[in-house]
Amino acid sequence: MNGSTSSSVSTTPAAPTPACIDSSARILLLPIVSSLVWLVISSVLALIASVKLHSPTVLADSSWLTYGHTRPAANDAFVYGFASQAGLAVALWILCRLGRNTLVGGLPIAIGSIFWNLGVTFGLVGIFTGHTTGFDWLEFPKAGSFILLASYGVLGICALLNFRARQPGETYPSQWYILAALFWFPWLFTTARMLLVQFPVRGVMQLAVSGWFTNGLFTLWLTSLGLAVLLYFIPKISQAQLFSRSLALIAFWSLAVFGGWAGFYRGLPLPAWMISTGAAASVVLLVPMLATVANLWLTMGQGTPAKSGLLGYFKYSLIAFALCGVFAVFNAFIPQLRLTLFGEGVEQLFLYGFVGLALFGAIHYLAPRLTGQENDKFVCWSGMASTFGILLFAAAFLIGGILQQKRLIDGSVPFLDVMNKTKMFIRLSTLGVLLLVIGNILTLARVLLLVRACCQACCSSCCSESKPSVKLKPAGAAR
């Protein structure tokens, strides 16, 4: 399997070298850098929201920055601006590397990415000006969503073309997840938008559609992207073969079959069978989780990790993934937890801990290779800041949520006291978000430094020679 060992030379003589692939994929720096900009914006918005949660008088006179706007804006900027965009870029690169083909469709990818960013911008402005649709994770108003979907069409087709352009040979699990995710996202997004905004269904059916979409967005789209990254990078960095292909197969198909069924919790005014189905699915989803975690953990055990500090990102991401699976079961079976901070804690652990850390690690790995420059500045620091940030944030919300629930179910504690006693945990979480902001800025700074160095190298070689890319010493080959 070519994907697990970077140095293994391709068997087909026609296949390009990894360095060649990397330099062909340089255009992916555009979605990566813009996704990191959204990441920083998202975390700054999350910081504002977090501060407002315990100090409601801060920035109280601005309608744009009220908590009801900043919270969803931060979430959407993370999911659509960062995770989806960076996930697509990393997925494209993984497809090229695994398929041993140079990147197909550089120009459409660049255009698609520009329009994607435009879509996210429109969507966020819509949220700030009060034009939200009012549904979780689908807040972007018409203009934003349409641009987003259209540009996704371009990016998705490019990704499929890249999958088609692969050299013959056995496919790798990452490719399955990416292929599935590429279809799941547009299906989920269009179905939900059609049924919620364009031709809205009536009454609580909206809850059914929105719960189905939220669950799909997390369990199918983001999980697939995250797992594709982990399945590719963990064996690669530990320098080992994937422990078991059959385990990966079981995990993939059990996720595909049961992934779409979770997401309804007790207490929602929906038919009881839907809620039972959701709870049962959240238990069955422990199967793909355990299979993947066991598979990758054993892979790590087999390998002899290189000195690269990147394995930590993927390891913690895997741990966060496992914890989220377990907490989802808690959420489904302890209904009182759902409306407390606990639910949001799990959500953020999933977004930053699992998807975020996996993508940060991937971006730190990709950036030097795509730019052909070396610079290890900030890798360690941003990793520490992100890991401790999410740890603090999630721990504060999870523990705070459990205590909040304990007081909430005690009818004798007035509601105001419940919230005021939870304040301490919210303050702690603000500290966590602050660390995340720092980590995100450092990540962006490192990638920008690499891009600048790359541009300078390009310029200087342009002046002296007509063919710049040949001169660049690709970092990927050196490792």
């Binding site: 407002k52 949660l53 409601p56 008088t57 109280a60 006179d61 601005s62 309608s63 009220t66 908590y67 009801g68 706007h69 919270r71 969803p72 009060g130 034009h131 009012g134 549904f135 979780d136 999958f163 496919t171 399955w176 292929l179 279809f183 799941w184 179905t191 269904v201 009536r202 009454g203 609580v204 059916m205 909206q206 809850l207 059914a208 719960g211 189905w212 799909g216 198909w253 595909a256 079959v257 779409g260 069924w261 309804f264 207490g267 005014p269 929906l270 038919p271 189905t277 209904p335 009182q336 409306l339 407390t340 639910g343 949001e344 909430l408 179910i409 009818g411 509601f415 919230m419 304040k423």
Partner: protein, 282 residues
């Protein structure tokens, strides 16, 4: 598994299955739900114009980020009340004595009317309640079994029954919420204070509740110089909340719409699928 088409087919089938199961099937089951016909009209009714506009203000400001609109019920119990003692007082008193030895049977039987039902049993399982009702019927009296929903939300006074599908029939978008950073609002209209107080709470929640964590929504209000006569809507603000001299704080139309919406929030009509608690707890 090396073929793209195979993976594609697999994920298409699994995706359509979840769509079929969780969207198409429920749409057939509850998507065509109509208003319930009750003795005193239909439920629910569409919101009045101002309240409907207020719903959009509620959505636009993301109130749903902190406020849920759902009342949950954890269990239930039954009460039995006597509504008419019938004609044979002696047998009824004897029956009452057997059913509930603790009560003053004579006084209860004498006082029971349709308007003033007298409680005989509280907090009993359905079997006991049905049995008591049957015995009293045999004795010639009329008794009613009351369904009492129980739960933390109900104990907190956030509603007198659980919220069900019918309550959301006219909401677009439905704002059921995912977080309770603020209190539940499903029945806010029932416990809401006066319009003035809600407006003050929106202007700055610390005005009405010292320790409130709710953000101020001052941008829904306008501070403007007092004209010839002060506006009837102007908020009576004093101390540190007071506007500069010669100015007054007047709610914008959005604020008034939002208040109308909040006052319209009631999900307490007793329904077949969700009987309300007869006497809402304070």
């Amino acid at each position: 598994m090396n073929h793209g088409p195979l993976i594609f087919l697999g994920i298409l089938v699994t995706f359509v299955m979840s769509w079929w199961g969780l969207i198409f099937a429920p749409q057939m089951q509850i998507g065509v739900q109509q208003n319930a016909s009750l003795v005193d009209g239909i439920y629910p009714r569409p919101r009045a114009g101002l309240a409907e506009q207020g719903h959009h203000v509620y959505v636009a400001n993301g109130c749903v980020q902190c406020h849920s609109q759902q009342v949950r019920q954890e269990s239930y119990t039954f009460d039995v009340v006597l509504t008419a003692p019938g004609t044979n007082n002696e047998i009824v008193i004897r029956a009452l004595g057997k059913i509930a030895p603790g009560i003053n049977a004579g006084a209860v039987a004498a006082a029971a009317t349709d308007q003033k039902p007298q409680t005989i049993l509280t907090n009993v399982p359905q079997g006991v309640a049905d049995d008591a009702q049957a015995r009293l019927k045999k004795a010639g009296a009329t008794a009613k079994t009351l369904f009492i929903p129980l739960g933390v939300d109900i104990a907190r006074g956030w509603g007198s029954r659980l919220t069900v599908a019918a309550d959301y029939l006219y909401d677009q978008p439905v704002q059921v919420g995912h977080s309770r950073l603020g209190p539940d609002l499903a029945n806010y209209g029932q416990r809401a204070p006066s319009t003035k107080l809600i407006l003050e709470h929106l202007y700055d929640p610390r005005l009405t509740m010292d320790k409130s964590l709710m953000p101020a929504h001052r941008y829904l209000f306008e501070t403007k110089p007092v004209g010839k006569k002060s506006s009837p809507d102007a908020l009576a603000l004093t101390g540190k909340f007071a506007p500069p001299a010669g100015h007054e704080v007047v709610p914008k139309p959005e604020a008034l719409q939002l208040v109308a919406y909040l006052q319209s929030l009631r999900a307490s009509t007793s329904l077949f699928e969700a009987p309300a608690s007869p006497a809402p707890q304070p």
